[in-house]
């Protein structure tokens, strides 16, 4: 558990929240706020994916499908039925969770990791094709537009607006989502639930012999993971206000998100956040290098994988820490 959460996870999350809080008031230009908003949305996406990939240790490579399901479900319902995105985002998360549990069933029966990877990849491809072919509803690859932004919230005389171009409001929403999701997951995973996931990951037979109901817990993990990813997809949809099957469920999304998780640290709670920040921010910072941008970006990923094979979250400073410091006892049961 120490390896997953580090020494003081709540303090780390608090520091992150304190760093994010002043951003909307800093009068930063919209470009920077937009990039930070994307970082927050992708960080939630990556964290959700990390639950099955890192904590449960299943090589699931199809979570961009849940992102797409959450995004499309929320967008379609709010567009066609006029329901507020504040409500449909939860519906998106719920539908993604149901989809996650459904795809979880065949995964339960598969012991070989390459096959898990193939089945989940194929699932994502099916989801992409379904959204691409339901043209009457989604407009396919032409793009589903007309997605309403989140309804404005009035505080006193000022109204906070959301959606593209309303940078501060969108950022604030993403930041609340980010802190909220991570706080809830910390509360959930620091206890019995997280221990169970790790037990299943590290020694499935042992976990089963101790009384862990493998099937139920795996399905639960799939549900939670898909719900978090679906929620991030819904927020993405109402922020960008345009969806195409390829842009949300295509291979590019898979690759960027996997890179974030791997660079940040698979199976570390905060890893995907660092990965999302590093990759989202640097791909923009590197714009100053013009044509060399993506070359440097790729090189950066390789360098990180070499110097930090366990991810950024697995890095330890070489100085100033005793090699085997005693850890605080953890309530296990």
């Amino acid at each position: 558990m120490l390896e997953v959460f580090g020494r003081r996870p709540y303090l780390v999350l608090l520091v992150m929240a304190l760093l994010l809080a002043p951003v909307p008031f800093l009068q930063l230009n919209d470009y920077i706020v937009h990039v930070l908003t994307l970082f927050l949305i992708f960080a939630v996406f990556a964290t959700g994916w990390n639950i099955t990939l890192g904590l449960l240790g299943l090589k699931t490579l199809g979570h961009h499908a849940f992102f797409a399901i959450g995004a499309y479900a929320s967008a379609l319902v709010s567009h066609y039925f006029g329901v507020s995105p504040w409500i449909t985002m939860w519906l998106g998360a719920l539908i993604a969770a149901v989809a996650g549990i459904i795809i979880g069933f065949p995964i339960l029966r598969i012991r070989s990791m390459p096959h898990v990877a193939i089945v989940t990849l194929a699932f994502a491809e099916i989801v992409r094709l379904v959204f691409a072919n339901l043209k009457d509803i989604t407009r396919g690859e032409l793009g589903f537009w007309g997605i309403p932004p989140f309804n404005p919230i009035g505080i006193g005389d000022t109204a906070i607006r959301f959606g593209l171009g309303n940078a501060a409001g969108s950022f604030a929403l993403a930041a609340v989502l980010f802190v909220g999701v991570h706080l809830i997951l910390l509360l959930l995973l620091r206890g019995r639930c997280g221990l169970t996931f790790l037990a299943i990951r590290d020694a499935e037979a042992a976990a089963e012999s101790l009384g862990v109901r493998l099937a139920a817990w795996k399905l639960f993990a799939f549900g939670i993971s898909a719900a978090v990813v679906g929620l991030s997809g819904a927020v993405y949809a109402h922020y960008l206000m345009i969806l195409t099957p390829t842009s949300v469920a295509g291979p590019e999304m898979l690759i960027s998100l996997l890179a974030m998780i791997i660079v940040g640290g698979v199976g570390r709670f905060f890893g995907p956040i660092y990965g999302a920040l590093l990759l989202t921010a640097t791909s923009e910072l590197l714009r100053d290098f013009g044509d060399y941008r993506m070359l440097l970006y790729g090189a950066l990923i390789i360098v990180f994988v070499f110097i930090a094979p366990a991810g950024i979250a697995g890095l330890k400073p070489r100085l100033g820490r005793k090699p085997a410091e005693a850890t605080k006892p953890v309530e296990a049961v």
Binding site: M1, L2, E3, V4, L195, T196, L198, A199, D202, A203, A205, A206, A207, E208, S209, L210, G211, V212, R213, L214, A324, A326, T327, K328, P329, V330, A332, V333
Partner: protein, 238 residues
């Protein structure tokens, strides 16, 4: 209290256990001895429910369990120490041990935890260490501690001496006897005939998935077949 009746197990099309019947009485230490690949581990897995028998009966205190998964066993007083320990390597020792009481209430578990630490004081200094970084012997202690946390009346141990130093084998032997003295029945398997039968009340000899011999520990040690094939072979090898 634990009975296996005509248990058959298949891995795919391969039959690995042939009508195996065994019994472990309350408070007994029972050894399953046999060469590599004779199906010793499979007997334990079938008893624990980690491998479903294709036919036969597994009975614990009269309740038939062969169709139930492993997860129901701890609550019924049965737990297992798996081959090669199978600890959760990235968790702390304390987390590993406490997970042994997965199906129990916290208060009860705390109580058992104290009892287990008294029984196995060797693990106390390492409670906060990462389990995967301990030595093989230390890991075996942790695995036993984890197995005991379910407060079992029968403890299954799959190859408990595998890969341990001779000194450590002795320590583990005495721990097993100590556990047994507290009223816990033990069913374990081991390739070494002397080691198996010397410390057990009763023993079974398994060859190619069939029980070929059974009797008290002493009788087994004295049996000419065992002496010729297993002890002889052992002496030559040594």
């Amino acid at each position: 209290m634990l009975q296996l009746e005509r248990v058959n197990v298949h891995y795919g099309a391969t039959r690995v256990l042939w009508d195996v019947s065994m019994e472990v009485g309350a408070g007994e230490i029972v050894a399953i001895m046999g060469p590599n690949g004779s199906g010793k581990s499979t007997v334990l897995k079938a008893a624990m429910g980690l491998k479903k028998p294709s036919s036969g009966v597994v009975r614990l205190d009269g309740e038939e369990l062969q169709a139930r998964s492993a997860t129901v066993r701890p609550q019924r007083g049965m737990s297992i120490v798996l081959e090669r320990r199978r600890l959760f390597p990235r968790m702390s020792v304390e987390e590993n041990v406490m997970l042994g009481a997965y199906t129990r209430k916290t208060a009860e578990a705390r109580e058992t935890y104290r009892w287990v630490l008294d029984l196995l004081p060797e693990i106390k200094p390492h409670l906060n260490a990462t389990a995967g970084k301990l030595s093989g012997g230390q890991q075996q202690m942790v695995a036993i501690a984890r197995g005991l946390m379910a407060n079992p009346r029968v403890l299954l141990m799959d190859e408990p001496f595998l890969g341990l130093s001779p000194a450590m084998v002795k320590t583990v032997c005495s721990i097993m006897q100590m556990i047994n003295e507290r009223g816990v029945a033990i069913l374990f398997n081991e390739q070494n005939a002397k080691l198996s039968f010397a410390m057990s009340h009763r023993g079974y000899l398994l060859e190619s998935g069939r029980v070929v011999l059974s009797g008290s520990g002493e009788d087994m040690l004295d049996h000419p077949e065992v002496r010729r094939v297993y002890l002889g072979m052992r002496e030559e090898a040594a």
